[in-house]
């Protein structure tokens, strides 16, 4: 879908002669780099703010990290304008990763009734 509309963005073959495009991309790269640095600083500051809720802090930190990851993957790694085969591969990978983490955590929580961390020594 996005193949045709974005292919000029980063595809080495397609934009071989588009020097101008590359110039504007170079600006973008610097801007993304700056945004990443800002994101880092904001995360650190957030950590010192000591919000009262732990989960809120974790959410903030992980949200910023995810945005940063998106910037790196999307722009530096040109993922916003990749080919279908790569989207498919990464989509599958992401699905399995989420499945793995989710199912392991679920298994860890859903135990037979009455199970507990070892109680013999600490009744």
């Amino acid at each position: 879908m996005s193949e045709s509309s974005h292919s000029h963005a980063a595809d080495p073959a397609a934009d071989h002669d588009h020097g101008h495009d590359l110039e504007s991309h170079k600006k973008l790269y610097w801007a993304v780099g700056a945004a990443l640095l800002v994101g880092t600083v904001v995360t650190v500051l957030a950590r010192y703010m000591e919000f009262n809720s732990v989960s809120f802090t974790i959410a903030v930190a992980m949200f910023i990290a995810t945005v940063k990851a998106f910037l790196v993957a999307g722009y530096f790694m040109h993922l916003i304008s990749e080919k279908k085969a790569i989207y498919l591969t990464l989509g599958t990978t992401a699905a399995f990763l989420v499945g793995m983490v989710g199912l392991i955590l679920w298994s860890d929580m859903d135990l037979p009734r009455g199970s507990q961390p070892k109680t013999h020594y600490v009744p």
């Binding site: 085969a85 599958t92 793995m100 679920w106 298994s107 859903d110 037979p112 070892k118």
Partner: protein, 604 residues
Amino acid sequence: MHTATTHAPSHGHGHADAHEHHEPGFWSKYVFSTDHKMIGIQYGMTALIFLFFGFLLMLAMRQQLAYPLKPIPIVGNFLAKALGDDMAKGGVMQADLYNAFGAMHGTIMVFLAIVPLAFGAFGNYVTPLQIGAPDMAFPRLNMASYHLYFWGGVVMLASFFVPGGAAKSGWTSYSPLATLADRDHLVNGQTMWLIGMVLLITSSLLGAVNFITTIIQLRAKGMTWMRLPFFVWAQFVTGFLLLLAFPPLEAAGIMQLVDNVLKTSFFLPSGLVTSGGPVPISGGGSPLLWQHLFWFLAHPEVYVLILPAMGVVSEIIANNTRKPLWGYKSMVYAVLGIGFLAFIVWAHHMYLTGMGTKISTFFQTTTMMISIPSVIILTALFISLWGGSIRFNTPMLFALAFLPMFGIGGLTGLPLGFNASDIYLHDSYYVIGHFHYVVAPGTIFGLFAGVYFWYPKATGRYMSELLGKIHFAGSFLCMNLIFAPMFVQGLRGMSRRMYDGGATYFGGGLGADPGILELNKVITHSAVLLGFFQLPFIFNFFWSLYAGKKVESDNPWSATTLDWQTPTPPPHGNFAVEPVVYRGPYEYSVPGAAKDFTPQSQPG
């Protein structure tokens, strides 16, 4: 370049190797080759040797099971000398040795024999030929994969000789046992096992990257996805299973290595007390985490063991029934379905670690779901026989036998897959019977079929049909005599991994039936016999290099796929002219066609 490889089947020079050491070509031709066919042969030879070695380990164990505490014939004294009294005092197998051999049998068979043979050897040799590619996408990476595999194998073998002996916590290496078993030796068998595994995993990962890239990128002109031979589909899915399932085990392996060497507690909970008192560690880890990460690989891994064999069998069945595979498309979707579901069933190996109703219902539902695509593939293969004109050559015999054997193995997976019946069957010989039916008379037969089938392409000579048929009949009989009694033992309540063959449990007359111990003898004798029936194969394999019947054409089986449209053996670069594909993979007995096969590359 061309002349170097066209005329000589590589291993045909076996005897001359010693003299050729000075020849500059030797190393680059046989050791540092980047040609996918040579690498395939390297994988194949190494894997067959490991297969045999894994079998020998098991023979020693079977001897102990049938005749507990009697010295091992022939090799007993040697083992006592080589491995020490702790392992084989007076030639008698000790418990530690039994456990070490058991763990190494499992490891070697799975990671060093079947996967390298099925994926490394057949995948390497056949896949590029079948898709019409000149080589793998990354030839040097391919070489690196083989070398990593080789060194992984060397590390595994070396581990027998470190203090304390080889890893002895099962091929599953469950923590805390794997960490506590040999804690006094810094370099112990388990550490070696983990290092070996990291090498093998890295090898498989590079291999998977290479295979998938090759299949995506190097398909010949006209070779659309739905014209791929089923074998290639099987390799493709296998590649993805390896690519995505192995890394978590690599992570787990690294963590267990750190646990063992740097004394951390990833998989060790707090409060461990052994005979030496509380274990001096920080604790706080989770033993079940290891199991999750292990089985996240190891369940997909069992499909890695079976899918390539299914691919081989499909090729051979289409070829020898002289008709297209029935339901090719549904087979493709089924294999994709297996690939997908394989990632979300793993915890059926962990029902009894303590699971609530919800999560175990999830896992047993997915387990039942994954049996459906297997049924679809098998059914399609069965129906493919209907209407055929079946030729019973050796490859076909092995391929045909694969079907019911896999059927038995697969069907016995069902009672294990229901969590409630697994309560009784878990860790019994029923499990051993289940999976050996799939991997031994299943996968091994599929791979034997492949060896007999592609041998003429690789060497220009047939293997002997008579010896092949003896090999087949003997192996078929013995395999069943070995593994069928295990179901009886399992249903009677006999546990696996029992050094004394279960004697402890049945000695006391506590409601169990000591009679089934007699079956141990039947099994052991059949296993020895099975070994003897491999001799015709080994002989045939080497003898046919020189004396086998020469092939009359490049396409001796009158096959349709591209691998048979190359010179024999295929030269470097494979195809004289770039092949173009015009039709599906199995156009046999096309109505109105002149011959009973129409190759994929035949125009019109």
